[in-house]
Symmetry: C2
Subunit: 411 residues, 2 copies
């Protein structure tokens, strides 16, 4: 492991100085290579699929695992889009001259070696590799075990392109030990790895956060809230609630808990129940909710649970203060929204709720790199440091200060 990571680290100086033109060109070659070798990838993917079926993997997971020609075309297209992003390295963020006469420039640089741990979808392998490559970083990828053959096929094509261009293949590689033990070792290698990004289930995120000596940017769960204030437009509030919960219940920016101002419960709860019933959403609620509509009682635990399914917790709150307190106590810091016509309550919610994305009069489903206009996204950070919320390619950079002197000594 150490030897492998030492090679990764050594190759980071090489990639950090590649010209933008060269990087773009290599990414376009990678896109072409994936399409040209799609049969090889699909053949390996079918072995993964076969084993997955044998092991009774859930059908949703099998669906995410599956590669066909159309999905490989999409993967290639995504790499071409990353290739066309504005060069993230060497950007002068600030520049000034200090009293002693030196000129200072604060300039973006690659982070170095980034370990990324993710689950089954093999397109994440090529996407992530392309984002790291474009931003001058070396990546060490650890995908899901069930996608092992697919990921190896993809990575080996990427490495071929690197070698054809005279670059070390260690610039993009899969973690050789593709197990939990491999991850446990990787996250202790702070001398050689600069950043770990875990994307995946709660257990993985917790394990990495608790044990890593390398800095971590978490892509943790999204326990997202919507608060319907008493001045909200009722019909719009129902529409947004349905959209936030039901449009795609399995994603991190879907709503998990709905808070309703007590003054409008009689007007809105029956309507919500009617619409959610049409969507077959399973509703659970606090006592006050259950007194008004016929749904099951929510446990304390429910309000801490990211269902990732078509289930919703509902709670009645007495005012904006209780709403904000409930959110800050239960949220995972991902995305929250207030629906209101009231200026002061809107401002307070946006300012006092401590989450990456805070909305007014909008579904939470917009928390997404593509929706935000970042192009391809690395994921959605629930960490507060370095990068928070949707992570674009610019979040894969750090900076250095370049100081241009003229023979200066400090008095």
């Amino acid at each position: 492991m150490k030897e492998f990571l030492q090679k990764a680290k050594n190759s980071s100086r090489i990639i950090s100085t590649l010209s933008s033109k060269k990087k773009t060109n290599i990414l376009l070659q990678i896109a072409d290579t994936l399409v040209k070798n799609q049969d090889t990838i699909i053949a390996e993917n079918q072995k993964d699929m076969k084993e997955g079926i044998k092991e009774n993997l859930p059908s949703a997971l099998l669906d995410r695992l599956k590669l066909d020609k159309s999905r490989i075309t999409d993967m290639a297209q995504s790499i071409r889009e990353i290739a066309s992003l504005k060069e993230p390295i060497g950007k002068v963020l600030e520049g000034w001259v200090i009293p002693s006469g030196q000129r200072i420039e604060k300039v973006t640089t690659p982070i170095g070696v980034i370990g990324i741990i993710y689950e089954s979808r093999p397109n994440v392998t090529s996407d992530t590799a392309a984002l790291c490559f474009k931003s001058g970083n070396v990546c060490v990828l650890k995908g899901g075990k069930e996608a092992n053959r697919s990921n190896r096929a993809i990575a080996s094509l990427l490495q071929q392109v690197l070698e054809n261009n005279g670059l070390p293949k260690e610039i993009i590689s899969l973690l050789p030990d593709n197990t939990r033990e491999g991850v446990a070792k990787l996250i202790k290698m702070d001398e050689l790895v600069d950043l770990i990004i875990p994307r995946g289930g709660e257990a993985l995120i917790k394990f990495v956060s608790k044990n890593s000596t390398v800095p971590v940017i978490k892509h943790d769960k999204g326990l997202c809230h919507i608060f319907i204030d008493k001045s909200a437009d009722i019909q719009n509030a129902v529409d947004i609630s349905i959209n936030a919960k039901c449009q795609r219940p399995g994603v991190c920016n879907a709503m998990e808990t709905l808070l309703v101002h007590e003054d409008i419960t009689k007007d809105i709860l029956p309507k919500l129940k009617e619409e959610f019933d049409k969507q077959k959403t399973q509703l659970v609620g606090c006592e006050k909710t259950c007194n008004l509509i016929d749904i099951a009682k929510a446990s304390k635990e429910d309000f801490y649970t990211e269902y990732l399914s078509n289930k919703l917790s509902i709670k009645v709150v007495k005012d904006i203060d209780e709403a904000i307190s409930h959110v800050n106590e239960h949220s995972s810091g991902h995305s929250e929204s207030i629906l209101t016509q009231n200026y002061i309550n809107g401002e307070r919610f946006l300012n006092e709720v401590d989450s990456a994305c805070v909305y007014i009069n909008s579904s939470t489903r917009f928390t997404d790199g593509a929706q935000f206009g970042f192009g391809a996204e690395v994921g959605i950070s629930t960490s507060k440091l370095h990068s928070r919320g949707p992570m674009g390619i610019n979040d894969l950079t750090t900076y250095k200060f370049k100081i241009y002197g003229n023979g200066n000594i400090r008095e």
Copy 2:
């Protein structure tokens, strides 16, 4: 500990919404209070001093520990300067409208609860508290044990001012358990603490980095290099070398290793020896250096050592490539400088050396918040994420996305 930190976390919502005017006003009150109560502080400091003398603390440490009227005036002045800094919270970093019509603002916010671990100087207590307060953060301070009484006296005055203004005293507090075990507990409290900043000796930094489950921004050692290229101006190179090593050898931006291009060793090494001898600098060198000037041989270990004293390692290198490789292998990522008239070598050094501050034709002694024009500094980060190099008050902020909608649902 948990209960104490829970209070700290709860008070973070209160401070995060204070107006700039109110924060500034409270900081000015704090400055006045310190001066008005200087006798109390000095009395407590004298007890620390007495115990320090009894325990035979080194005189340099005792000097840093000592408070008198003039030092307390300086502490108050420093707080007034922090009070006058531009408000760091609520700054709109970017803003745009997305295709679905919502307006997005990326806005600076406080980080939350920050634990800061530092060594003896009691002025760090008031400085750090003021920086955290101005940036809307709650701070938990853990100063050196030898300054315990001084720190308690200062912190209790700060807390008085908070309470006089109707604020919870937990906004600024000292870690109740002021021991290594206390630190060990603090750095595991990732549910309640958002950031740990360790400033101090190597052992402390290592302990915190290896064990913290809270994100860490290290203020690690400065193993700084200067490379004298063959085209450097000889007299200027000697002046800069003396400045970088001898002006204040005990600080982190002082030079520890001098690299010299092999083509100019005969011209420059004797001159360097002559000038360093005048400064009583202890020199050790590689074999090639020792062949030319009469100094002791450097061990392999020497080139990995931050002396923090008037001692210097010298190594002859054959070209810019060897210089860059040596720096990237041995440096702590703090500050490095190339002295050269050659454009290409200067560019390569600035681009390829992976350190927070990279200089051309300048002493490394300028790596400092005040020199950079940041006002008061939190310290110098040797981490790569979130904040790198001199940390000003803006580095004590994170950001959130505020999304202003108009009833939007995702299609």
